[in-house]
Symmetry: C2
Subunit: 319 residues, 2 copies
């Protein structure tokens, strides 16, 4: 009998997609960072993410306040990646009965504060008993009708860009796992690029947030746009700090950038004559270009290697 380890996360998502007739209010169904709905005279974005203790986080290395911030941040990042303004969240919490009220309060405060920072708020939820901590957030966003950036608009010749730096989250996770001091803030509390996403509306031809790592998320853009990509290794924006952490831990920082995941920066494509150097408070780094030939290739000096696509939560590893 086939199980989820064989078909994988992306096989499962295809399996669980409603193949019924188009609906006049559904501009975009499953398969992008958020669904896009036409409600009255507005476009409404709609996303959800579930975080489970000891699968997605451990309470050994995060405070409840940080965890609350992160639970909202990963959803805010999905709305940002569509170019939307996040608006309203509902939160379901599965809590062990011996959870302290202080813990629950701090967890919630982290969620509320992260939402407020980006102009959103928590308007409802559900609390249930559970053996381990489970957090589900559903988040709405709004945008002007017609004003959303999808994954499928990248064209050959477009420049591939990312905001800020890559690999910071993987470096932070590695430090926490090794119980070593160092920069872990971006892993524990990622900063969703909401303002940047809004400013990229009308500029970016395709956009996604970096949740699975550059290789996997770029593969989504390429697959949905019917294109390929060439990335220059020397252009990958990896901070000096991350390089030092990698050296100390005997790891390859390029692999962290390509596959580490959870940086929650924006990955987008833009015509070559429109590449910005900054977008809002964030630096923009061009890292390669979109090509017609399928596949993602990493160029390192004179050598070019095809790199594999997406990280699969059911097939691989334990995160």
């Amino acid at each position: 009998m086939t199980d989820l380890r064989e078909i994988g996360e992306f096989g499962l998502i295809r399996l669980l997609t409603d193949h019924s007739l188009p609906h006049p209010q559904v501009i975009l169904g499953p398969g992008d960072d958020a669904a896009v709905l036409s409600i009255g005279d507005r476009w409404v974005l709609y996303t959800t993410d579930m975080l489970i203790e000891d699968v997605h986080f451990t309470l050994k290395t995060t405070t409840p306040y940080q965890l609350g911030q992160k639970a909202l941040a990963v959803n805010l990042s999905d709305i940002a990646a569509m170019g939307g303004q996040p608006t309203f969240a509902v939160v379901s919490l599965g809590l062990p009965p011996n959870t302290s009220t202080e813990f629950a309060r701090e967890l919630y405060q982290g969620m509320a504060d992260m939402a407020h920072t980006h102009g959103a708020r928590v308007v409802g939820g559900d609390t249930v008993k559970s053996s381990s901590l489970i957090i589900n957030v559903a988040l709405l966003g709004e945008t002007e009708p017609g004003g959303a950036v999808f994954r499928n608009g990248a064209k050959p010749g477009d420049v591939i860009c990312v905001t800020n730096t890559l690999g910071d989250s993987a470096a932070g996770l590695a430090l926490l796992a090794a119980n070593m001091p160092g920069p872990t803030a971006k892993h524990l509390v990622p900063q969703p690029r909401v303002r940047e996403g809004r400013l990229l509306l009308g500029l970016a031809t395709a956009m996604i947030d970096l949740s699975d790592g550059l290789a996997g998320d770029l593969a989504h853009i390429c697959a949905q746009s019917g294109v390929g990509a060439r990335i220059k290794k020397e252009l990958l924006p990896i901070s000096k700090e991350v390089r030092l952490v990698a050296e100390a831990l005997n790891q390859d920082p390029v692999q962290w950038a390509l596959r580490g995941g959870e940086d929650f920066e924006l990955l987008f494509t833009v015509p070559p004559d429109r590449v910005p150097s900054k977008i809002g408070p964030s630096t923009v780094h061009p890292i390669g270009e979109i090509v017609a030939e399928p596949g993602i290739r990493l160029i390192d000096g004179e050598t070019m290697t095809v790199i594999e696509g997406a990280y699969d939560h059911f097939r691989l590893g334990d995160s």
Copy 2:
């Protein structure tokens, strides 16, 4: 240190409510069946519910298809209780990696079919790895601006009504627990009263769906409306089938009606000159009246007893 068993579910909900300033788009925040938002020229309803294996269901007594139907139904029922039309759901699934693709497919199909039956559809979601099965549904609904029924509009003199019969779900649960044959359909696949909720717009002064049992859910209406209630025991609509099951299991069917929960019928109040005998396909049963004096009293012939309010998931029992 205080924990959730001391403050209970309702203390927790108060703890986790955003007390920041009013927001012009938030017509109603936490504390009703769904949040009510003003988006463009529409009112949008917004609710979420989490179901956890061995807390809310056991795979020993439900098929994946039935479970999918129920996961959607409990959310559809929340939208119905506001008088709204359910529209769009996002679904998060926590699945053990050895889940068969057939199981996942049937679970999803149950959700999609239940949504379609009531004019809604699943537009996105998240799938994550988990040690036990977790299902979170967030659901939107729509209604005309101004056209929602809240919990806080009940007035002394209003007649208290319920749709159809009470205690069926508790009877079904008791049969399944005793491994005895009998009517379990309403426990396994509750039918949300969406059409009825729509028709009660402009008629009901307050409304809630029966998820916790009549005593608990009526307590919510009374608390939020600042009123009390008198219920006549002889008027409680308990089917002959449920009475027979109760007799066979040596249980009190009135307790099932008052505290069993999960009937997902509508409980509503209506001025005495406007009590319908049917609403859509459902029979309406008047069971008592709203009074000014606080508290809920059960009248049994000449005796009148105060009955306690809501079931608390963190304080009591194991469901």
